[in-house]
Subunit: 401 residues, 2 copies
């Protein structure tokens, strides 16, 4: 707010990033369209495109057909096959690795089951390192990796990727980002983010939340995390731990939570709460177990129906609180919460209608992710792309392209 | 994010606002200091200052003493006596009006007691209109009013100042901004904001929160409101109703709340909850009644101590939730909550320590407002100044200066 105007060179670098972001998020776009959207003249767009083309980040080609007379405007297309990031998703029950091309194309994807239990840094980095080697072996030599992004189910310090807490992964103060960077030895930055924060960014960038400036993404992975976009910005807080809505107490004196408190949203709505209420705890765990409860309720199983209704009511109370606090346009239920929401939407909606002042819930939409179970993985990829989109040429220089 | 770079004229207008904001918030500032802080060269600062001086917004003068050799740098000073706003604070129990000069100087201030009960638009606008006439009668003819700001204890729609809900004022869908603009007939914009939001802005601009990018201001005025600054921006949400933390349910199935729900923070911590717990409900109301409970507890009254401990514990639970959600640098307790917090700080701190993960509460400061009971009034003045700080010359032209 207190800064003076930018220099010509800063404006050019900014515009290069803006143009690249347009084609990264919007796909192939004509020069004419970019001219309109960016509010710049044609010669500037041409110069910017030439710079990005020379750097190998985009290429220009004739559109397939225009349907109009006259010379068609060239289409600018991201170099998805050439420029990519590695994205990793570390969940409680699974490890996913992917190569994602500029433009958000998943080019290669590997997944392994993770045994529940404390995070063993060596094991996780070994598995992800092995995935990375397999993936890199299959890439052509003229391709370039511009970053690595990691989604993690816990509280991550912004800046250095240090895991500060992870009640469901038994990992406190674990230098995940550093250890993974060392193991991969790719010479590119490794950025680690909280899974729910990345889910929020992914759904806003490429999912059901496109165009939303105020949205809440709730992610269920045994526990519950939240990613909040307020006024177009991801809510980080002082050190990046903002959005920990899973540990908002909704039932004072309620069920004990892994964080040490009682009656947290996670304790009342998480996997264990649902399975215990349904009399199924200890038999099966994970998404399949949650799905089995929802399926049983669908088939008329009264115990499963009651369990879902109970959990759905607490979920609704939590959502109602968040709607009052954030006045969002949209709440998105991802991960395991997708199943729970779909099975208990009536309870959730009823709580929101009862508890929230009409003004705060006008126009509110409750949704599930368009990106499905890849939401957090896609978010990790976007985290990895953030740098090249902020300053394309500088980033390429730094990764040695 | 998708915009191109600004034009030279946009940069100049932006810089005029930035310079004016510097002296508005920071007080008289030397040209040399402005050159350093704004990162612009001396001739640009001189030209900007000349424009603002010609517009009558600032003046330049020699500093009193420099203690250094050489020609002293001229000091740029806001024209506090000439350029002002009218600020109004509509609380449950009082109406306040003030003339506030550029730089934040309260030049004139009037206050009346408000009888509790539903908001009668005619009564309130008549009282505030009368205050305004008294204030304006005492201003010199070469002064200029650049805006009107109003703080209101309820949910206000951003844009047009429509009160959408106010459980403690009995005012739903009341066109407060419009009615007041009509009554005042000053030909300047009337902006209405939620009291807690304005308190947050005021404490960040001029109070205990200067320099904080993430803070929560909790305001007690019979009920409880919240103003949240996240990543440097006031949290508004889709339509400006964000920050309604008073209606966050902390005690599911607890005490009934004016909003229709049960167990809201306001229902467990508000004035009525405290007075009932202390066995004093129905005798006395307002700040004096709250102070009396705190004083009695101080003197060793066990009933009052228990009441404060109970209310303080719920307040602590609410604060703990908010710290987990926002990872703020500071929580500020204003209005009636100032007294409650000072009387029950131990309970609040203990809850935060017990319930919040260490990472989320590292460096957290719990504070009371520097601006005391004028926090919301000062916030209303800042709201009124916002336009002239955003575009000084255009605003002056629009108000006919």
């Amino acid at each position: 707010m207190m800064r003076a105007g930018p220099s010509q060179e800063e404006i050019r670098r900014h515009n290069l990033g803006v143009l690249l972001r347009h084609v990264h998020l919007g796909g192939p776009t004509s020069r004419a369209e970019l001219t309109t959207r960016m509010g710049l003249n044609r010669s500037t767009i041409m110069a910017l495109t030439a710079d990005l083309t020379a750097a190998g980040l985009v290429r220009e080609e004739l559109p397939r057909e225009t349907g109009r007379a006259g010379r068609p405007s060239l289409v600018v297309r991201p170099e998805s096959a050439r420029v990519y990031v590695l994205a990793f998703d570390i969940g409680v029950d699974r490890l996913v690795a992917a190569r994602v091309g500029l433009g958000g194309v998943i080019l290669d994807r590997r997944e392994a089951i993770r045994r529940r239990g404390p995070l063993v840094l060596d094991e996780v980095t070994a598995q992800l390192g092995s995935f990375a080697r397999q993936i890199l072996k299959k890439t052509r030599s003229d391709t370039i990796c511009v970053g690595v992004g990691v989604s993690f189910s816990g509280g991550v310090r912004s800046g250095d990727g240090m895991v500060r807490y992870a009640p469901n992964m038994g990992a406190d103060d674990t230098p995940l980002g550093e250890a993974l960077a060392e193991r991969l030895a790719l010479g590119v930055p490794v950025a680690v983010g909280n899974d729910a924060n990345l889910g929020a960014l992914a759904e806003q960038a490429r999912g059901v939340g496109v165009g939303c400036r105020d949205l809440i993404y709730l992610h269920g992975d045994v526990g519950i995390g939240g990613g909040i976009i307020a006024g177009g910005q991801l809510l980080g807080g002082r050190d990046g731990y903002g959005g920990e809505v899973g540990h908002m107490v909704v039932n004072s004196g309620g069920r004990p939570c892994g964080c040490g408190a009682r009656g947290c949203l996670e304790a009342e709505v998480g996997e264990r709460a649902l399975l215990e209420a349904a009399g199924r705890f200890g038999r099966q765990v994970g998404r399949d177990a949650v799905r089995a409860v929802v399926d049983a309720a669908d088939r008329g199983d009264v115990v499963a129906q009651d369990a879902l209704a109970r959990v759905g009511d607490w979920l609704g109370l939590g959502v109602a609180n968040l709607v009052k606090i954030f006045n969002p346009e949209m709440v998105i239920f991802g991960g395991m919460l997708r199943e729970i929401y779909l099975g208990a939407a009536a309870q959730v909606r009823s709580r929101v209608a009862t508890d929230v002042m009409p003004a705060s819930r006008e126009g509110l939409r409750l949704r599930t992710p368009v990106l499905g179970d890849d939401t957090t993985l896609v978010g990790a990829a976007e985290l990895a792309f953030a740098q090249v989109l902020a300053d394309p040429l500088d980033t390429l220089a730094r990764v040695g392209a």
